[in-house]
Each structure stands twice: as C-alpha cells, then as structure tokens.
C-alpha cells in the first residue's frame, strides 16, 4: 500500500496533495456536474421520473448507445425558430452593457478609494461590501418599491415638480439595468481597487515630469497598468450576468429575453430537461470559448514580453 502511494507521488507527497486538492475540487464540483448535464443534453425526453431516457440499453445482448442530437440541432435551427439565437444575443447584450456601466461607474470609484488616505481605506472598502450583509433578493425587491409607478422615486420627482405624471420605470430595460449594475458593481470595484492600490505613484510623477497631461497620464499609464484589474472585474461581472435569472425576472419587463428565462421555461413549462441541459451547455461554451482564446492570447503576449 505504501509502495503504491510512493509510486503515485514520487518526490514529495505533500506537494502532490496540495496540487491535488484544487484539481479534485474542480473535478468533483465542475467537471462531474458538467458531464452529467452534457449526458442529459444528449438524452431523449421522458414523461415520468427521471424526466429523460437512458443513453445505454441492453437489447438481445447488444449494448445500444443512443445519442440524441435533436436538442442541439433545434437550438441552432435558426430558420425554423430563432428564439434561442435571439435569446443568446440578448443575454450577451445585457451582460455587456452591465459590464460597461459597472466599469464606467466602478473605475472612478475604485480609483478614488485607492487614492484615499490609507487610514480610511478599510472603512471605504467596508462601505462597498456592506450591501452584501443584506440578502440579495431583498435588495432587488427594494428596487421594485423604489421604481414602481407610485414608488419612492416617482414621488420624489413629482414632489420636486420635475414631472407631472409618474414615469413608468419598473419592468423596463431601464429598471433591469439599474438592478444588474447595482448588484454587480462591487464585483467590479473590488478587483479594480486591489489592482489600483498597488499602482506605483512614482510612474505617474515621472510621466508628469516628462510633460504628460493628466489625461495622457490616465490613458497611457494608469489604464494599461490596471489592465489585469479591469479584465478580472469585467469577467466577474459579465459571466454571471449572462445567466442571470432573478434580476430580469423581478425587474425586467415581459419582453426581456434572457437565457435564464428560457432555461426556466424548458425546465418548468416544458419539463424538457434534455433541451434545458443543451441550452445550458451552449451557454457554458459561449462563455468559456472566448475566455480560453483570451487566456491563450494573454499567455502568449506575456511570454513575448519576458
């Protein structure tokens, strides 16, 4: 037994364990569930329990393997029904806009925090994280109360005499974007702050000495140096936004097309687990493939530099 262990971990067993734990984690909680979803996505639907048919079957001593691709085919059959294609595009669009808004609001925010006196930085950081102390659902519901037609926001605007009639804001793309940006903003600010706080102030001084205007210093020094923070923040916002279900459901309008909603329909209205699994697989690929390409490009460009 000990020999076997020794052969599996030749040099340093401690090292193998340390490396092995995260891999084990990924295999158990990412790869395995994904494979299950993948398996369901190529099964046929079944009424009953489980709601999909088995992939393998023994008939007359033949092992029959039936891989059903109909779910994927109908997802991409745009000529017949472009609902899925439209939904993917619309989800990506909302996620992209959320990321852009979060970046535009979050960058100055993080910059201000990073430039604040070190003594008050922990307090500022605390303020950013404070909303997490309240349930996410509660905060989204609060926006419902604020934005509804006879809600707080409309009453203030009417009270100030800015508008005469209450505005219809809830269940529109506007309320959806407010909710998404509000919820995901901390995920943008935190990595940006972590990055910007390490920015070497002397580089900016040097740029100023060499005659760069504040604008040039920002674009040519600060932004390139904070690139990794921007990327990390954008990923943290963009990826969960694509699959977001709760916020569009509560704040979006009935015409809001999001992949989360389509998944819900497949699972609940149609009870078609295989089709829902196929939708999920394509969503994952849609996010992972660009990410992998980007990673590769990033690794290559870093390899060139060193």
């Amino acid at each position: 037994m000990n020999k076997l262990l020794a052969r599996l971990m030749p040099n340093n067993p401690g090292r193998a364990v340390v490396i092995g734990v995260p891999y084990l984690w990924l295999v158990l909680f990412f790869l395995l569930p994904f494979l299950i979803v993948l398996k369901i996505s190529v099964s046929e639907m079944n009424v009953g329990q489980p709601p999909f048919k088995p992939l393998t079957e023994m008939v007359d001593n033949f092992l029959n393997i039936r891989v059903y691709l109909g779910n994927f085919i109908s997802l991409f059959d745009v000529a017949n029904d472009d609902l899925y294609a439209r939904t993917y595009l619309s989800s990506l669009k909302y996620a992209a806009w959320t990321t852009i808004f979060c970046l535009v609001i979050g960058f100055p925010f993080a910059y201000f925090m990073a430039r604040a006196r070190p003594t008050i930085r922990p307090a500022l950081l605390m303020l950013v994280m404070m909303p997490f102390w309240t349930s996410f659902l509660l905060r989204v519901y609060a926006w419902k109360a604020i934005l509804t037609t006879n809600g707080v926001f409309n009453q203030i605007l009417i009270g100030l005499g800015i508008i005469g009639e209450p505005l219809h804001m809830l269940h529109t793309p506007f309320s959806l974007m407010i909710g998404m940006v509000y919820v995901y903003l901390p995920f943008m600010i935190l990595p940006l702050y972590a990055n910007l706080v390490k920015l070497d102030g002397r580089l900016l001084e040097a740029a100023a000495d060499l005659g760069a205007t504040p604008w040039q210093r920002f674009w040519l020094v600060t932004v390139p140096l904070s690139k990794s923070g921007i990327i990390a923040g954008s990923m943290l916002v963009f990826i969960p936004c694509v699959g977001e279900f709760v916020i569009p459901e509560l704040l979006g309008g009935p015409e809001t097309l999001m992949i989360g909603r389509v998944l819900w329909d497949e699972l609940f209205s149609n009870n078609d687990w295989p089709r829902a699994a196929a939708v999920a697989v394509v969503t994952i690929l849609l996010i992972i493939v660009p990410l992998a390409i980007f990673n590769k490009y990033q690794a290559e460009s870093q390899g060139e530099r060193t």
Binding site: N150, F268, S269
Partner: protein, 372 residues
C-alpha cells in the same frame, strides 16, 4: 479465515435484523410531521392550526402559483412533500407518469362527503378516483373593477360576452390606461383563447394554437401585467382594472378592496360562453415521506366544517356535499362561487394535453409575452 467469515456473516445478520426492526418501527410510527405544497391564497388562517391541535402533526406549508412549477418538482422527484395540490388535468399526466400514489381509501372515511357530481368530473381523468380528492374548484374567467372599466369604455356598452373584454382589441385597448393583468402561464392563457375562438379549449391541433397565437399578438400591446398571484392585491388597490384570472382570486380581491375601504368595486364575470373549469386536487407523491399523515390531512380537510371554512375564506367552491350548512350566507348566495345549474353547464371541463402541444404553447406564449 473461517472464523473471520463467520464473524462477518454474523455481523451482516445482525445488521439486517437491526435494519429490519427499524423499518418496522418506522412503518408503525411515522414522525408527527406533514409537508404540504399548495397554491398561494388558498387556505383559511385556522386550518393548519386546528389540524395540528387535533392530530398533533406539525405542518410545514409551502406555496406555488402555477401547475408548471409543481409538475417540475414532482418530475425531479424527492420533493419531501406529502400533499401536493395539482389541477386535475395536470394530475392526469402525473398519474400516467407514476408520480402520484394510490390513496388508501380505508384511511379516509370522510370521502363519503364528496358530492357525486365532482367525483364524476374527476373520474374522467382519474378513473375510479384512485389518486385525487378535490381541494376546491373554480374557473378561469374575467374580473373587472366596475367603475374604472365603465369609465374606460365611455359610451361603449359592456360586451355581451365577457371574454370580449380581454380578447377583442376594441375593448381591451381602452383598458390599457387603467391596467390589464393576464395569468402568467401558457396552460392558463391558451385554453381561454382557444375557447374564445370557438375551438376546443384543450385542442390537440397545432393549427388551432397558431390561430390563438395570432389573436393574442394583436392584444399584446394592451396587457400591462403578467401575474398569477400578485394581481389579487393589484386589483384590490386599483392599479389593475381588468384581469384574466381565477374566479376565487378575483373574489378575494373584491373582499380585500372592501376590507381595505379602497372604494374599488371588483366583480367576477361569468362569460356567456362559459369559463374554463379547474379542479385542484389533493394527491400524495409516490415518494412522500409521511403518507399516513397525508391521509389524515385529506380526511381532515374533508370534514364539512373545514371544507366550508376554506370556501368562506377564498371564495372557491368545495366538493363537500355536507359543508353547505357551514358556508357563510353571503358566500353561499354568491352566484360566482357556487354556480347555478345553468352556468355550470356552460363551463368548459379541463383536459390533459401531450408534450408536443405543451412545447408549442410554451413557445407561442413566449412569443406572445415578449412580443417577438
């Protein structure tokens, strides 16, 4: 070696004996717990309290607001629920899929209270009433805020057929300004739309659904809310003046408007061509952890005074022939709760549809809702 195997065998035998004795103990003595999954706004305040007092069984009570959600949970299995309340046409799919357990009628003596007419309706989908007992029943119909709808219509008279209000553009377009709510589920909207077009409400023809979809597209701009539970309060407080909803829900809105002194006069309409009937039925999932308690609960609900208290609270009719004397006078006399024989005859009975039709109606419903 020999000794080892003998000991192992002894261990196994001991283990089996222990497990078996536990199993027997469990079968005799169920924990005093019951998990119920029912529709929202569908019970009286004291129903569960009295049941707990009478039987000592603690009830955990959860809500849903569409058959789709319940069905999805049952299909996924291991819900942990002992009582679920699907509508009869969905329950049929669940019975066929082997998701619901057969009732042990010996444990439900109060089954004798169920009136023959309702039992007959259910038997069409559940032959021999082997799985289902009606909780309450009602119908999908149109509800209005009388004053607001009259004001919105102006010089136009009320239509002869109440369905016109929600499905005919010249009527519903007038109502947009005061708020129009539709139930939020394909399995509620399509039967009503198909019925309005003169098709079978639970049609099996794809072309019928396409036609209904075209009609729905035309009225989509005027629907301001899709809701299957929140519309009760919206109607009561006046932010909605027209609803395609469930009969009892609209009556609850009416009561809340009266209790809250909002001045909104809410009314349930009975369409000339009839509403779409539904029977919500108590059933026990096959994998229910406490089936005995579930039977006790069904038997308790079937007590005349308990069933009457449900009707008194939520304005849906009950199937309990003995309960009439416990129903409040104003509820008993409400013609939209207990339908007259003439109105009953007009109502459309529920039926199950197959998977292809469900997929089609979900797809067309998404199209309707998103306006794409």
């Amino acid at each position: 070696m020999k000794l080892f195997s003998f000991r192992a065998l002894a261990d196994v035998a001991w283990g089996v004996a222990l497990a078996a004795s536990c199993g027997i103990a469990l079968a005799q003595e169920e924990p005093k717990v019951l998990n119920v999954y029912n529709w929202s706004d569908y019970i009286a305040e004291d129903t569960l309290k009295n049941f707990e007092k009478e039987t000592g069984i603690k009830v955990r009570y959860d809500n849903f607001d569409s058959n789709e959600i319940l069905h999805a949970k049952l299909v996924a299995g291991k819900t942990g629920y002992d009582i679920v309340v699907p509508s009869s046409n969905w329950a049929k799919i669940q019975i066929d899929g082997g998701l619901l357990a057969k009732l042990d009628k010996a444990l439900i003596p109060n089954l004798a209270n169920v009136d023959a007419e309702t039992a007959g309706q259910i038997a069409k989908l559940d032959p021999g009433n082997q799985h289902l007992v009606v909780w309450l029943w009602g119908y999908t119909t149109v509800g209005i805020n009388v004053d607001k709808v009259k004001a919105a219509l102006g010089s136009m008279p009320m239509p002869d057929n109440a369905w016109d209000l929600v499905f005919k553009p010249e009527y519903i377009s007038k109502m947009k300004s005061c708020g129009v709510s539709f139930l939020d589920s394909p399995s509620e909207i399509f039967p009503a739309a198909l019925h309005y077009l003169g098709k079978p409400a639970f049609s099996k023809q794809t072309s019928d659904y396409q036609e209904a979809s075209r009609m729905l597209q035309a009225i989509r701009p005027y629907v301001t809310l899709f809701s299957s539970s929140g519309y009760i309060n919206d109607m009561a407080n006046g932010s909605i003046c027209l609803a395609l909803g469930w009969s009892g829900d609209i009556s609850i809105a009416r009561q809340r408007a009266i209790d809250g002194k909002t001045g909104n006069k809410i009314e349930v309409l009975i369409p000339k061509t009839g509403g779409i009937l539904f029977f919500d039925t108590m059933a026990i999932p096959v994998d229910a952890p406490h089936p005995k308690n579930a039977h006790a609960f069904i038997n308790y609900i079937l007590k005349p005074e308990v069933h009457a208290s449900l009707t008194n609270k939520v304005f849906y009719a009950n199937p309990n022939a003995q309960s009439t004397k416990f129903v409040k006078k104003e509820v008993a006399e409400n013609p939209t709760v207990f339908l007259s024989a003439e109105n009953k005859k007009k109502m459309i009975a529920p039926d199950a549809v197959n998977n292809d039709i469900r997929r089609l109606s979900t797809r067309l419903y998404t199209q309707f809702k998103t306006g794409l």
